[in-house]
C-alpha cells in the first residue's frame, strides 16, 4: 500500500511541479465556467420534421423504423415480431403491460449471459433519443434495465416516445444531467465494423438487428 501511495504522490507532485503554482478551487471553477460554448445547443426543429430526421438517420444505419400511436403500441409490436419471425422477447423490469401483445411470450430476464444468448431478442424503452445522430440512449432504469440485456441478444426492439426525441447531442446531455452516474449506453444503429478495407459491416458483437418503434400522439 505504501508503494501505491508513492506513485500517487509522485504523479501529482510531478504534475504540480510542471504546472507551477496551483489555483484555488474557486478560480478553477471560474475559469471552467468562462470556456466559450458557442456551439449549437438546441435544435428548434418542429416535431414532425424532427421525427422524420430521426427516422432518416436510423434508416441510414440499417435499423428498422416503425411508428405507432400511443394506444397502438402492442399491435405494432405484434406486427414487428411477426415480420421478424420472433415468438416473443425478453424484457427488463418495468415494461408497461400495454406494450405487450397477446400471443407472444414475454419474460423478465435473468442477467445470465449464457441464457440471454439463447433468447430471441429484447424489448426496451429508452431515456432519450438524438435525431441528428440517430442515437438512442439507454440507462439502467425502468423498462431499460441492465446493460447486458440490450447487448447479448441478437435482436433489439426499442420503443421511443416522440417526446423523448431531441435534435442535438447537447439537448440530450441536458436531459441526462440528473442521471449521469447510471450505466449508460448510446446506441447508434446495429453494431458495425469498418476494420476490413474500410467496408462497413453490420453486426459484429452487439445485436445484429435493431428495430426502433417511435410512438406518436394518436
Amino acid at each position: 500500500m505504501a508503494e501505491v501511495m508513492d506513485h500517487r504522490a509522485a504523479i501529482l507532485g510531478s504534475i504540480r511541479k510542471a504546472l507551477g503554482q496551483a489555483s484555488s478551487k474557486d478560480a478553477i471553477a471560474e475559469e471552467y465556467a468562462a470556456i466559450p460554448r458557442t456551439y449549437t445547443k438546441t435544435g428548434g426543429m418542429e416535431r414532425a420534421a424532427l421525427l422524420a430526421h430521426f427516422e432518416e438517420r436510423l434508416v441510414e444505419y440499417d435499423a428498422g423504423v416503425y411508428r405507432a400511436a400511443k394506444d397502438g403500441i402492442a399491435a405494432k409490436v405484434a406486427e414487428i415480431l411477426t415480420a421478424r419471425g420472433k415468438p416473443g422477447l425478453t424484457l427488463p423490469e418495468g415494461v408497461p403491460a400495454e406494450w405487450l401483445p397477446e400471443g407472444f411470450s414475454f419474460e423478465v430476464a435473468g442477467l445470465q449471459a449464457l441464457e440471454l444468448d439463447k433468447t430471441p431478442g429484447v424489448l426496451t424503452g429508452c431515456t432519450v433519443a438524438i435525431a441528428e445522430t440517430g442515437s438512442i440512449v439507454l440507462q439502467n432504469a425502468a423498462a431499460q434495465g441492465a446493460r447486458i440485456l440490450s447487448l447479448v441478444p441478437d435482436y433489439h426492439l426499442c420503443v421511443v416516445f416522440a417526446e423523448q426525441v431531441v435534435l442535438t447531442v447537447p439537448e440530450a446531455f441536458a436531459r441526462l444531467e440528473g442521471t449521469s452516474t447510471l450505466p449508460t449506453t448510446f446506441v447508434s444503429g446495429p453494431s458495425a465494423t469498418a476494420d476490413i478495407e474500410m467496408t462497413r459491416i453490420k453486426g459484429v458483437h452487439g445485436p445484429r438487428f435493431l428495430d426502433v418503434l417511435i410512438v406518436v400522439e394518436a
Binding site: 500517487r8 504523479i11 504534475i15 441492465a146 446493460r147 447487448l151 448510446f186 469498418a194 459484429v204 458483437h205
Partner: protein, 494 residues
C-alpha cells in the same frame, strides 16, 4: 537507440524514420492498403464535418476544455479519484510502464485468471502489457477486430483507430484461416467479421477478467466513457466479473456535460460517422449491472513532464481520433509502422519523443513537410506543425551541445546560411559566386548548404534548374535602381 518493448515483445524505435519509411515505401501492397483506407476515412470525415455549421465552435470548445483541464490536471485527477472511489471503483496510480504492469498482473493473478479479454487500448500497447501477461502464463485476447487481426498475424498496430488498415481482406483471410483453423473461410468482409464473432463470442461468455483503455475519465461523476463500434467493448465492459482500465492521466475531463462536445467531434473525426455505434459510460460499480469489481490504473509514463513545456503541452489535448493520420500526406505514403512507435502519424511524431524525454524518436519531429493538414482537421486544435517546429528546436539545441552535433554538416551549413542572411552584401556575393562556380560548389561538402545539399538530396528523383546568370537583385540594380533612385531620391546601395 535503446528501443521500447511492444506488446508482442519486439522493439519499437529500431531505426530512424527516413530508414524505416524507405523500407515501407518498397512494400507496394501495404502502401496501396494504407492509401485506400485513409482516402475512404478522410472522405467520410469531410462529409460529416461539413454537415455541422458549428464545427469550429465545437473544436474551440473542445480545445479549451482540454487546455483548461491540463492546467489543473492534479485537481481533476483527485476529483475523479474521489468520485470513482465513492462509486465503488478502485483507483491505482502508475508512474511508469513497470508499475502499470505490476498492478495489472497482480490483479489478474489475484483472480486466478489464465485468460483476459481486451478492448483495444493504446496505453496497454505503450506499456507492453500483453508481453507481461504472456510471460506470466496469462493469455490476453484482443477483441477489437483489427487488434485481433494484428495479434493473430503477429503484427503491430499501424493506426490507433483502425490498427489493421495496412492489411487487406486477402491477408486477413490468410491469418484467420491459419489461426482459427478455418480452411474454407471466404474473403468477403462479412465472412471475416462473422468468423471473429463466432471465435470471440464463446470467450466473452466465459472469461471473467477484462482489460480496457478509456476515452474519457469524468471528474465530476467519477465515471468513464468508452467509444466503440463493434460491441466488443460493451461485451468486455459488461459481462466479466472484473474490469481493469488503464488510462493516461491526460484523458480526464471536468464534467459529464463536456461529453456533449467530444461525442460530436470524436466520432466524426475518427471514423467519419455522425455517431459511432456504441458509447458506454459508467461510474465505479453498479449493483446488478456489469462487473462488480472495477479498477482504473492512471498512467503517467512520461506525460506529466510534458505539462511543463507551455508550447508543447497541447500535445496532451489529444483524444486519439487519428484524423491527423488520415489527413497526413506523409502517413499516406508510409502508414504507421515507419514511425516505429505506438503512436504513429503527426500526433505520434510529437507525442512519442516527448513521452521519452526527447531520448527516443528524435527523427520523428522531422517526419513532416509541415503542410498543416493535421492542424486543420484536429478536433481539439492541437497546432501540430507548431509543436513539430518547437521540438525540432529542442533537437537542434541538444545536438549543438555535443561536439559531433556542433561540427555536423547540418549545423555548419545552417550557421553559414545564417551568416549570409544576416547581410545582403554577403548574400549577393554568395549568389554571384554560386552562379559562376555552382558546378564546383555542388560537388563540395556544402559550405553554403541551403543550395548544394538541397541539390544532393534532390537528385535521386529530381532535376534542379541551374542558377540563372543574373539574380533578381542584380537585374534590379542594373535596370531599375537608377531610375527609381532618381525618382524617389532613395539611395540604393545593393
Amino acid at each position: 537507440m535503446s528501443g521500447v518493448q511492444t506488446q508482442d515483445g519486439t522493439q519499437w524505435n529500431r531505426q530512424d524514420f527516413p530508414e524505416a519509411a524507405k523500407e515501407i515505401l518498397e512494400q507496394s501492397q501495404t502502401r496501396k492498403n494504407v492509401q485506400h483506407a485513409t482516402n475512404v476515412i478522410q472522405g467520410k470525415r469531410n462529409k460529416v464535418v461539413a454537415e455541422l455549421p458549428d464545427w469550429e465552435d465545437l473544436r474551440e470548445a473542445g480545445a479549451q476544455i482540454k487546455a483548461h483541464t491540463l492546467r489543473h490536471l492534479d485537481h481533476y485527477l483527485a476529483e475523479f479519484e474521489a468520485n470513482c472511489t465513492a462509486a465503488g471503483g478502485h483507483v491505482h496510480w502508475a508512474s511508469d510502464a513497470a508499475e502499470a504492469n505490476r498492478i495489472i498482473l497482480g490483479l489478474v493473478q489475484q483472480h486466478d485468471a489464465k485468460e483476459v479479454i481486451k478492448i483495444k487500448t493504446m496505453t496497454s500497447e505503450e506499456v507492453g502489457l500483453n508481453a507481461t501477461l504472456e510471460a506470466n502464463g496469462i493469455a490476453p485476447i484482443e477483441t477489437d477486430l483489427a487488434e485481433l487481426i494484428v495479434q493473430m498475424g503477429k503484427d503491430r498496430p499501424s493506426h490507433f483507430v483502425a490498427p489493421a488498415l495496412h492489411v487487406n481482406r486477402a491477408q486477413v483471410r490468410a491469418i484467420f484461416q491459419k489461426e482459427m483453423h478455418l480452411p474454407d473461410l471466404g474473403d468477403r468482409p462479412e465472412d471475416l467479421a462473422t468468423a471473429a464473432r463466432t471465435y470471440l463470442r464463446e470467450k466473452y461468455l466465459r472469461i471473467k477478467v477484462a482489460i480496457s483503455g478509456g476515452n474519457f475519465l469524468i471528474a465530476d461523476s467519477g465515471g468513464m466513457c468508452i467509444v466503440e463500434s463493434e460491441g466488443n467493448g460493451r461485451m468486455c465492459l459488461t459481462l466479466p466479473d472484473v474490469l481493469i482500465s488503464i488510462v493516461g492521466i491526460e484523458k480526464v475531463i471536468p464534467s459529464f456535460q463536456d461529453l456533449e462536445v467530444f461525442l460530436q467531434t470524436l466520432p466524426r473525426s475518427a471514423t467519419g460517422e455522425r455517431m459511432n455505434p456504441y458509447n458506454s459510460t459508467w461510474c465505479g460499480v453498479h449493483p446488478g449491472d456489469g462487473p462488480q469489481e472495477f479498477h482504473v490504473v492512471l498512467l503517467d509514463n512520461g506525460r506529466s513532464p510534458i505539462l511543463a513545456d507551455k508550447e508543447a503541452r497541447q500535445t496532451l489535448q489529444c483524444i486519439r481520433c487519428a484524423a491527423c493520420l488520415n489527413a497526413c500526406p506523409v502517413y499516406h505514403q508510409t502508414g504507421g509502422h515507419a514511425y516505429e512507435s505506438v503512436y504513429a502519424g503527426p500526433i505520434g511524431a510529437i507525442l512519442t519523443p516527448q513521452l521519452h524525454s526527447m531520448k527516443e524518436g528524435r527523427s520523428l519531429p522531422y517526419a513532416s513537410s509541415l503542410c498543416g493538414a493535421c492542424y486543420q482537421v484536429c478536433p481539439v486544435k492541437i497546432n501540430i506543425p507548431e509543436v513539430l517546429i518547437h521540438l525540432r528546436g529542442k533537437v537542434v539545441q541538444e545536438d549543438q551541445a555535443t561536439l559531433a552535433g556542433k561540427f555536423s554538416l547540418w549545423n555548419i551549413g545552417m550557421q553559414a546560411a545564417a551568416f549570409l542572411f544576416a547581410d545582403a552584401g554577403r548574400l549577393g556575393l554568395a549568389e554571384r559566386v554560386g552562379a559562376v562556380g555552382q558546378k564546383v560548389l555542388v560537388s563540395k561538402n556544402g559550405f553554403i548548404e541551403w543550395m548544394p545539399l538541397m541539390l544532393g538530396g534532390w537528385t535521386q528523383t529530381r532535376d534542379l534548374k541551374a542558377l540563372p546568370a543574373q539574380s533578381f537583385r542584380q537585374w534590379w540594380a542594373k535596370e531599375k535602381a537608377p531610375s527609381a533612385a532618381a525618382k524617389n531620391g532613395r539611395v540604393s546601395h545593393g
